[in-house]
């Protein structure tokens, strides 16, 4: 495999990891706020905080890893995205900063502050929306090179149906992924009240997930026919995604195998995300950068791959330990530890 393919695959895997763990976190913020509003905080919110408290920093590192890796493997991406995204990027950082710190302030500091909880819930939906525009922009048509400047065409973005369909998809997916995970978690905790509440959320958000994906396909066809056609060539990826979705919804509906249902949701997004990514290639940012033209020099590329492998050897056992202690330890989940 060539260096650029290795690089983009590594980055895509980590972005996928972030997609899953961050969705759980973002959606949980929304549900926590909702639970508070409905006066269900004692079941729902205690449950959510048991899962999130030990892992939220790890979630953030997934994101840091992605953008540091992107700049490392494809330095030209730093130049184009960096110049063009100054304002939208900064707004996304500020939202992330508010969310992360307010989580800590609210959770470890002053427990019952409704303002923290509101901001925490609201940013949970705004952040995926703003981060997803980076993917939208990569489809081309929203940046223009003027002399030595790269200009971001905000008006085009705000009036593009494609862009809005991606925003809708991102929000709906976040809520769906989060609800299915928390249903599983509540079930393990033996907290039937929360489980039923969350199961209802999962079912409620499951049809919109598929509708929103269809919407994205339709508008992509208008916006970037080239990408649409490559996606059709690997239609089976999206087919598998649909099958996993149906399986997951079935299990949740029948109140069975919540763990398996969540794994199916993960696979649903895995196939869709990698199908999307594979058909997007060779462009990182259409039409300015492709993976071949922007990849770093071979020496640095090799060094990054070596460090990546060494890093994984360190990371996988540590992550396993974390999951064993906080996810698979029934006593912890139940609140006995």
């Amino acid at each position: 495999m060539s260096l650029e393919i290795v690089g983009i695959t590594v980055l895509w895997i980590f972005l996928y990891g972030y997609l899953i763990v961050a969705s759980i976190d973002f959606g949980a913020g929304f549900f926590a706020f909702y639970g508070r509003m409905k006066g269900k905080e004692h079941t729902l919110n205690v449950l959510i905080s048991r899962y999130l408290s030990p892992v939220w920093e790890v979630t953030n590192v997934f994101f840091v890893f992605f953008f540091v890796g992107l700049v490392g493997f494809f330095p030209d991406a730093a130049y184009y995205y960096g110049t063009a995204l100054l304002l939208p990027g900064s707004i996304a950082i500020i939202l992330l900063a508010i969310r992360g710190s307010f989580y800590a302030f609210g959770n470890y500091g002053s427990k019952d502050n409704i303002v923290y909880l509101f901001l925490y819930g609201a940013t949970g939906l705004l952040i995926p929306a703003s981060l997803s525009t980076a993917l939208t922009i990569s489809e081309g048509g929203f940046l223009e090179e003027q002399g030595d400047k790269v200009v971001f065409l905000a008006r085009e973005l705000f009036t593009s149906p494609y862009s809005w369909s991606v925003v809708v998809l991102s929000i709906v997916s976040v809520l769906f992924i989060s609800a299915t995970f928390l249903t599983y978690y509540a079930n393990r905790a033996g907290d039937m009240d929360s489980r039923e509440e969350l199961r209802r959320f999962s079912l409620f958000w499951s049809p919109p997930t598929i509708l929103a994906s269809l919407l994205v396909f339709v508008s992509l066809r208008e916006h970037n026919p080239g990408h649409f056609n490559s996606a059709i060539e690997i239609w089976w990826m999206f087919g598998l995604s649909l099958v996993c979705f149906l399986g997951a919804s079935f299990f949740i509906y029948r109140r069975r195998n919540f763990g398996l249902a969540f794994i199916l949701v993960m696979q649903q997004f895995f196939f869709a995300f990698f199908g999307y990514g594979a058909s997007h290639l060779p462009y990182i940012l259409k039409p300015f950068i492709t993976i071949e033209t922007s990849v770093t020099n071979p020496t640095m590329g090799m060094a990054l791959v070596v460090v990546f492998i060494a890093g994984l050897l360190l990371l996988i056992p540590s992550l396993y330990l974390l999951m064993r202690l906080f996810l698979f330890d029934a006593d912890y989940v139940k609140g006995n530890k």
């Binding site: 960096g82 304002l87 974390l322």
Partner: protein, 445 residues
């Protein structure tokens, strides 16, 4: 001064870093102090130390959060504000940045485990062992990011041809001449500052309500650690000056207002400068600059006049350097005095003056961190990559940096205030004595 995007990018980078470095320093140093306290607690079977470790760790959750989010901000801002720099330097220096993210992962995972497993292991040492990966993770992130900064000061491991980097050697870039002294100084000062901040909080608590054994043990522990780290910091600072004399003489010369190259050069402390660059009102230590630069009075120290005028750093960094060094000596003095009074029974180490001196040492140490970094960064001006790329060539050409700057300043003010408020609330609601009673009911009678 026109507020063009170069100036604004500099202002925003400086603000973010100046804010991040407070929490980063705590993030590097406090895990070490927590680890020492828990170690003592288990070893001596002393609930006071165990409670100390717990309470420090609880406060740490708040500062870590701010450290993480501001770190994420600076990481993204590097690409947003300095895209041309990242495009070129990214080819050479991506390796340590990438390694840093693994260090973050390592720290984040084990910190999460550490904070939520206090009573989970039968063998208490297992919980203590968890502090080791946390310390390794945070100190390693400081190490890797400092190699990046060192690279900007003494770049090597590549050649520049038509604005493109070629013949790249990432390892040589990381192990550039500035790395050893910089890493050593950054780590020792982070440990020192954290010890002094914890000491300052403890001393303040004693002054407020005459703390019991718990506070006394805490102050002794932090003061002994601070003295060790203060000696380490001074040694590392001295080595840094020797490094500068050899590899970056213009930075040292600017800090010392040293214009003509000469042997037996005088060390100028404080003072003022007139428009002809004549020094007045200074304290002059004859020959000491040569000594600082090369451990001998006849070392020749290169003066600023050997550099073209547009490549000289601003001269006000002199004050920052002097203040940093003064604070360094103050730390040695205050920690030394406390330990002396404590060992030498005739004196009372709990006297008010000394305690107030300790209270001051915490904020002062943090100021020294800020002064040190501003000195190191401004002293590199006008270069972003010394000898290769100037700051003005590297800044973004996008519009809207001003607005971004305003937004971030607002964010940092908000985070700063809330962080302090939350911390105060956290400890006010649960005084140490009450918590000791509740957690260790038998022993703490």
């Amino acid at each position: 001064m026109v507020l063009d995007s170069v100036i604004l990018s500099r202002m925003l980078t400086s603000t973010t870093l100046a804010f991040h470095i407070i929490f980063a320093t705590i993030g590097v140093g406090v895990p070490v102090m927590i680890s020492i306290a828990e170690f003592m607690g288990i070893k001596r079977n002393d609930p006071h130390y165990l409670l100390l470790a717990r309470r420090w760790a609880r406060g740490f959750t708040i500062t870590v959060a701010v450290g993480v989010v501001t770190g994420t901000a600076i990481g993204l801002q590097l690409s947003l504000l300095w895209p041309s720099f990242m495009q070129v330097a990214g080819q050479v220096i991506a390796l340590p940045l990438f390694m840093e993210t693994f260090a973050f992962f390592f720290e984040a995972i084990f910190l999460g485990i550490y904070l939520y497993t206090w009573d989970r292991f039968k063998n208490k040492w297992i919980h203590w062992l968890l502090t080791i990966p946390v310390m390794i993770g945070s100190s390693a992130s400081a190490l890797f990011i400092t190699t990046v900064n060192a690279f900007m000061n003494t770049p090597q491991g590549f050649e520049l041809e038509n604005g493109k980097a070629i013949n790249i050697d990432p390892i040589a870039a990381m192990l550039n001449p500035a790395t050893p002294t910089k890493v050593f100084h950054v780590l020792t000062t982070a440990y020192l500052t954290s010890a002094l901040i914890l000491a300052a909080i403890t001393a303040f608590a004693i002054l407020r309500k005459k703390g019991g054994d718990y506070h006394k043990k805490a102050l002794r522990l932090t003061m002994v650690s601070a003295l060790i780290f203060a000696f380490g910091s001074a040694l590392a600072g001295d080595l840094s000056a020797k490094f500068l004399a050899e590899y970056q003489p213009e930075k040292l010369a600017a800090a010392e207002w040293h214009f003509e190259s000469e042997e037996n050069a005088d060390l100028i402390v404080f003072g003022t400068l007139d428009e002809n660059n004549e020094v007045h009102n200074e304290i002059r230590l004859p020959g000491f600059l040569s000594f600082l630069a090369g451990s001998s009075f006849d070392t020749e120290v290169i003066g600023l006049n050997e550099f073209p005028e547009d490549e000289r750093p601003p001269l006000w960094v002199h004050y920052l350097f002097d203040l940093m060094v003064s604070i360094g000596f103050y730390s040695i003095f205050i920690a030394g005095a406390f330990i002396l009074f404590w060992k030498w029974k005739k004196r009372n180490e709990w006297n008010k003056g000394l305690l107030w001196g300790i209270v001051a040492s915490g904020p002062l140490a943090m100021l020294a961190i800020e002064f040190g970094w501003i000195y190191a960064e401004v002293g590199r001006q006008p270069w972003i990559l010394r000898g290769y790329m100037k700051v003005a060539e590297a800044a973004t050409k996008a519009d809207g940096v001003g607005l971004t700057f305003a937004l971030f300043v607002g964010l940092y003010i908000l985070l700063g205030i809330l962080c302090v408020v939350v911390l105060i609330k956290m400890f006010k609601n649960k005084p140490a004595e009450a918590e000791l009673e509740q957690r260790f009911p038998k022993k703490a009678s």
